[in-house]
């Protein structure tokens, strides 16, 4: 330390800090001499005498890594010797620790010193302790077990009377304290909030902030103390507390609106220079505090006019004051601008903020330019004209030498893309992609390009070529869902039969020429896409011989960089193509090579190829080419193996046990748990016949023999079954590969092949569709093409806002799928109403991140649908047209729609109520009233509309009812619902929407669970037009517990036994028993029966079995047993996640009492 005190106070007090870097530069020029000559005065002051100094100097003199390693190892041995010696004093220990830290920082492990670091923190005096804590925080991370030894030290130091020790303890606590140890020290830290010294209070607040971040529930009880910290007389403590508030407000802005005025007052005081001069930074008052406050205010003012109005004045003042020319004022300005654009808009503030952004963008300082672009990107959705104003600057930035600036400009362009400028912008993005060295950017940008291409592609050629570039540039880094959704788009089609055919044909053509070129340069993912497309669609190209394609594909197999995954794609494609003598010969040859491959998947594919190429009849059956719209049925229970199983069992084989059961058996090695179900009911032997439940062996035999072991899962109708089966086959990552087999059949209409069309496709290929402006051309022209359509556009049309122009490549399956598969309640897809059509266009369809499972299932469903519904599905009237027509349909629904189940004609229309009438329940359709409904809750309101909703639990369905009260003249109300977890289908629509008078309209939807979750949510949007024709929309969401979908299931004990063995998803947990005088098991089961609608199948002794179903026909079985004062519950179901969700609700139900 002595050497660190070397600097005379004068030397630094006189030095202006801003010049520091220059000074450092000067010092550094002297460096080489310092290092080599020990005798120089400069190096003497650098603790030349200390051992650390010697070590460091030793290392700098070395020439090779090897020498360094030797030296450090020697050093470590010596440190190790000394730290473990009992004679080493704490002072020496401190010195040793510093050296150990140095060695570690060079990348050499010194784990032997960890324990000594903790000892030093425990036993040393102030500075020694400090080094100890520092070493601990550098050596160990949160999860290190040695940290437990530190808890006591921290506790002791927190209670110390020495302020420095308390400070150190608080610092270390915020740095790396294990989560589960927080409760041990929390009271002491809390106590420090009242410490007389402000630095302690500050650090205590920050420590609590850290606790809040890592374990929010542990500091929940001290929220009022945070308020006290906010009111602390020391501005530093108050500043520290703002970190917590920022976090809290981010999570729940509505909970802290009352503080808005206080924050504004604080900001006023700060801006007005009321704080002690200590808080100034380069003569700007407390910039950190100002920025923190601005961030909080923008959160509070977002979507809240009242709160925003309070802050307009101070924002204005901040914008005006920050005229000075210093970085820190720019920082404040930037934050101010963001705030102004986030809160409820005020025109003159926006104007000032826009000017500010202009100054940033036009600034010569590159940092400011960057932030200006960022700000533009941020505001461009609200204010596209601003981008227009600065278009020339943006064009310049697009060619900036700094890649970061370029990147930000590209991002900005991405936000202003529309159908008119998409080609130019995508071109610019791809141009950037080619120069960008950074993987993260590549992944991000390829995703964005793919998104734009899918959304705005002007024509097929452009689309395929753009995607080709995405695949080649994005390579194997890009998000896997890009190729997935691309293939899905190709296979599902989008725009009518002929268009689909052209697109596919073009893809085939383009891929064949790519393969003829240099396929070795293409990334694996792209090769996989190519293989799949060629396998599926190369037959569309008439003059292309399958053998030619096979030979091209064969070349891929021979390249050494081809991964085995790609190879199996290739083999799969070959399997589909081997037709005719020449191809069979190639196929045979290939399959012989790979049939002995070490890779089992490849071997399997080769086997398939061999067999199928020899037997064309079998191939046609397994891989039917086109027009085969029959979905494949997948028997998930593998019941066709029943015969085989029973034979094996008869021959003495052990019955199959699912993995979880085997594991369990391993766990409780000697217990009787060999029986999955028999164990649970051992006493039952007396009370029921042997045939009911016996050993699992017998049970599984019986299930094996029954041949209809999956009867129950079949009950849900074909839809349910297929969903189920598909899921299992397709696994998470297997989507693409399997899709070769399954999705292949999706809607391939028998193609009309004609050479002339082929020629057309060829010629269109040869012309380059991208009108990239020449480099010499004036930037003006680029600008006009980039910003085309921007000026005329209303902000609504920009990205992130509802799209008035539907996507070009719209996938059409999902919405239809949901409507038909929803419950089987809607008798035919024809009865799906206009709002379902709207549904089709819902955002979720465009979401490329849809997991493959549901989308796959929906594709199968479409097939059925299109069969029964050919007129619409294949007719010229595509979805887009339906969209345009939907308003019309809404107002004149066809009479057939009101037939049957849909006959729920809402009575209220005869006597339209005023919307203020709270008694919405009177509007509930009569046939729903008898079932009892949940409380009617408001969904959303504005001046013209009021939406409320409730749900009605019917025996076999769940009806979701939406009430729309319109209080002013609006027209063309449309409702759109979508949900991640639920299938939504429309039961009935209000036949007419009253335009002028105040009326209540009732919409009914039937909901079924697609994917179980503890709570499920329906989100939706209502769109309408004001009387002047302006379109408006409102969004809402409605949450309901999974239990609303649970109904009792009546099964016999025998059936139960059979089902139990079939189900593969299960969960177990111990729950608390209810004991209110009654026999605990009965009491508990009664609660479950009452609250969750579980059906009790049988209760014997201390065990009970229950059954229920998730609407519709998705069973879940429950077995429970009283054990050691707890209820051991075991749930099983064929539906993933269902057991877990149910156990949660059981727990809730039992806790509630």
């Amino acid at each position: 330390m002595a050497d660190s005190r070397r600097s005379a106070p004068l030397s630094w007090t006189n030095k202006p800090a801003a010049k520091m870097s220059d000074v450092v530069e000067k010092t550094l020029t002297a460096l080489p001499s310092l290092l080599s000559l020990d005798s120089q005065p400069g190096s003497a002051k650098l603790s030349s005498s200390s051992k650390l100094g010697n070590l460091i100097r030793g290392i700098t003199e070395l020439t090779s890594k090897h020498e360094e390693e030797k030296l450090i190892q020697r050093e470590l041995v010596s440190i190790k010797e000394q730290v473990s010696s009992p004679n080493t004093t704490m002072r020496q220990m401190k010195e040793l620790m510093v050296r150990a830290i140095y060695c570690e920082s060079l990348g050499y492990e010194a784990s032997f010193s960890y324990i000594h670091a903790i000892k030093l923190a425990q036993q040393g005096t102030a500075l020694e302790k400090r080094v100890g804590y520092l070493a601990v925080s550098l050596f160990l991370n949160e999860n290190h077990e040695l940290l437990l030894l530190l808890v006591n030290t921290v506790l002791k130091d927190l209670q110390s009377t020495n302020l420095i020790e308390v400070c150190m303890a608080l610092t270390v606590v915020s740095q790396m304290f294990p989560k589960d140890m927080i409760p041990a020290i929390l009271p002491l830290v809390e106590e420090k909030l009242n410490h007389p010294k402000e630095i302690i209070r500050r650090k205590a607040v920050l420590a609590l902030y850290k606790f809040y971040l890592i374990a929010p529930n542990q500091v929940q009880h001290i929220h009022n103390k945070f308020r006290k910290a906010l009111c602390d007389k020391d501005p530093g403590v108050m500043t520290a507390s703002l970190h917590i508030y920022l976090q809290l407000i981010q999570e729940n802005p509505d909970g802290y609106k009352d503080l808005t005025a206080s924050f504004v007052t604080i900001l006023k005081q700060v801006v007005g220079g009321k704080l002690p001069i200590d808080f100034n930074y380069h003569s700007v008052p407390a910039p950190w505090l100002q920025i923190q406050l601005l961030r909080i205010l923008s959160l509070l003012g977002k979507n809240d006019q009242n709160a925003s109005e309070i802050m307009y004045e101070i924002l204005d003042e901040s914008l005006q004051r920050a005229e000075m020319n210093h970085n820190i004022t720019y920082a404040i300005l930037y934050e101010c601008v963001k705030c102004v654009y986030t809160i409820h808009p005020k025109s003159d503030l926006l104007e000032k903020a826009a000017k500010c952004i202009g100054n940033f963008v036009l600034s010569q300082k590159i940092n400011l330019k960057y932030l200006g672009l960022k700000a533009l990107t941020y505001v461009v959705q609200q204010d596209p004209k601003l981008a227009l104003q600065h278009q020339m600057t943006i064009i310049e930035c697009l060619d900036h030498s700094d890649l970061i600036i370029k990147r930000e400009t590209v991002e900005l362009l991405f936000r202003i893309t529309n159908a008119q400028n998409v080609m130019v912008i995508v071109d610019k993005m791809l141009e950037f992609l080619r120069v960008s060295p950074d993987d993260y950017t590549t992944i991000d940008l390829t995703g964005k390009v793919a998104e734009l291409a899918e959304k705005y592609a002007p024509d097929n050629e452009w689309f395929i070529e753009t995607m080709n570039t995405v695949f080649s540039v994005g390579g194997d880094m890009m998000q896997p869902d890009i190729p997935n959704s691309f293939l899905k788009l190709l296979s599902e089609g989008f725009d009518g039969v002929e268009e689909d055919r052209k697109l596919r044909l073009f893809a085939v053509d383009s891929y064949v020429s790519l393969l003829r070129g240099e396929p070795g340069k293409l990334p694996q993912r792209f090769l996989q896409v190519i293989s799949w497309v060629l396998g599926e669609y190369s037959h569309l190209m008439e003059e292309l011989e399958p053998a030619t394609v096979l030979r091209l594909l064969e070349r891929l197999l021979d390249m050494k960089q081809t991964s085995s995954e790609t190879k199996s794609w290739v083999l799969m494609a070959m399997t589909k193509l081997c037709e005719g003598g020449a191809s069979v010969a190639v196929a045979q040859q290939v399959s012989e090579t790979y049939i002995s491959s070490m890779d089992t998947v490849l071997r399997q594919r080769a086997q398939e190829l061999q067999h199928l190429s020899q037997d064309s009849e079998l191939r046609a059956r397994v891989l039917p080419r086109d027009a085969d719209l029959e979905p494949q049925e997948v028997d998930s229970s593998l019941s066709f193996l029943d015969g085989f199983v029973s034979e094996a069992l008869a021959a003495g084989a052990a019955p199959y046990k699912p993995p979880h059961q085997r594991q369990e058996e391993l766990a409780q090695a000697k217990a009787l748990s060999l029986e999955p179900y028999g164990l649970s009911l051992p006493i039952s032997m007396a009370s029921c016949s042997i045939a009911d439940r016996q050993s699992p062996t017998l049970l599984s035999i019986s299930s094996g023999l029954s041949g209809d072991s999956t009867e129950l899962s079949h009950k849900g109708g074909p839809t349910t079954l297929k969903l189920d089966g598909v899921k299992r086959v397709w696994g998470r990552e297997g989507y693409l590969r399997e899709s070769v087999e399954e999705v292949a059949q999706v809607e391939v209409p028998s193609p009309l092949r004609s050479p002339s069309q082929q020629a057309g496709a060829d010629s269109s290929h040869s012309q380059t569709p991208t009108p990239t402006p020449d480099p010499e051309q004036d930037k003006q022209q680029l600008a006009s093409s980039l910003f085309f359509g921007l000026s005329s556009q209303s902000p609504m049309c920009l990205m992130g806002k509802p799209e008035p122009t539907p996507n070009r490549f719209r996938r059409k399956t999902k919405g239809q799928g949901s409507s038909s598969s929803a419950t089987g309640q809607t008798p035919s897809p024809l009865s799906s109403s206009p709002s379902t059509v709207d549904d089709l266009l819902g955002d979720d369809l465009l979401d490329s991140s849809i997991p493959s499972e549901p989308s796959v299932s929906s594709s199968t469903i479409t097939l059925e649908l299109s069969q029964g519904f050919t007129a619409t599905a294949h007719g010229p009237c595509d979805v887009e047209a339906e969209l345009a027509d939907s308003d019309v349909k809404e107002s004149n629904p066809s009479p057939s729609e009101d037939d049957g189940l849909v006959a729920a004609d809402p009575a209220p229309h005869e006597d339209p109520d005023r919307p203020e009438d709270p008694c919405l329940s009177s509007h509930l359709p009569a046939e729903l009233c008898e079932h009892g409904h949940s409380e009617i809750t408001p969904l959303c309101t504005n001046q013209s509309l009021e939406l409320s909703a409730c749900h009605v639990q019917k025996e076999d369905s769940l009806v979701f009812v939406i009430f729309i009260c319109n209080s002013s003249a609006i027209q063309q109300i449309q409702l759109e619902l979508h949900s991640e977890h639920l299938e939504v289908s429309c039961v009935s629509d209000s036949p007419e929407v009253d335009v002028s008078s105040h009326s209540v309209t009732v919409y009914q939807y039937s909901l079924t669970v697609k994917r179980p979750s503890v709570h499920v949510e329906v989100a939706g949007m209502v769109s309408y037009q004001l009387c002047d024709g302006t379109p408006q929309n409102l969004q809402f969401s409605y949450k309901l517990p999974l239990t609303s979908f649970i109904r009792p299931l009546t099964v016999s004990t025998e059936e139960y036994g059979t089902m139990w063995l079939d189900f593969c998803h299960d969960t177990k947990q111990n729950l608390t028993l209810i004991s209110d005088g009654e026999e605990p098991l009965t009491a508990t089961l009664n609660v479950l029966k009452r609250k969750l609608q579980l059906g009790v199948v049988e209760v014997i002794g201390m065990e009970g079995i229950l059954a229920c179903q998730l609407l519709k026909d998705q069973p879940c079985l429950m077995h429970c047993r009283v054990h050691a004062g707890l209820l051991a519950v075991w749930l099983r179901s064929p539906v993933p996640d269902l057991p877990d969700c149910l156990i949660y609700h059981c727990q809730r139900a039992l806790q509630g009492d």
Binding site: S4, S7, S21, A126, S174, I404
Partner: protein, 143 residues
């Protein structure tokens, strides 16, 4: 909130590392490697900001040393530059004409100053005087 603060030399040697969010050793190594590579590759007269995964990187070169911090998406880049500057001022004030060698030979002091200035990734004390005083107090205590 800051996620980390790194000091490294033009040769890519790490001089100081401070982590404000928990990371495993392997992740730390990756961050350090990427930071050094990214920052050192930046040509002169380019802006001081970078994007790395979902973090903003703000860096600044003082003589032969690069100071760099990783920030959340919503954090203010310019403010972070000032944090770095204030830290340099603090070092300068303590060491007097601070240079890389001061930080190499007395890295523990550099850490202590940082601990007084930042806590949990946020600025705890903005006053130069106060930080200086508390460090000196601790030093005196030891003597």
């Amino acid at each position: 909130m800051m996620h980390f603060l790194l000091l490294f030399s033009r040769q890519g040697k790490l001089r100081l590392q401070k982590w404000f969010t928990p990371l495993s050793e392997r992740e730390k190594k990756k961050v350090i490697r990427d930071m050094v590579a990214l920052v050192l590759a930046r040509p002169a007269r380019t802006c001081n900001f970078l994007q790395w995964k979902d973090l903003k990187i703000v860096y600044k070169r003082y003589a032969s040393l690069y100071f760099s911090v990783g920030l959340d998406e919503q954090d203010n880049e310019l403010l972070a530059l000032e944090v770095l500057h204030r830290y340099v001022e603090l070092l300068d004030r303590y060491f007097g004409n601070v240079c890389e060698l001061d930080i190499i030979f007395n890295f523990e002091k550099a850490y202590f100053i940082l601990d007084e200035f930042l806590m949990g990734g946020e600025v705890v004390e903005t006053s130069k005087l106060a930080v200086g005083a508390s460090i000196e107090e601790a030093d005196t205590f030891q003597e």
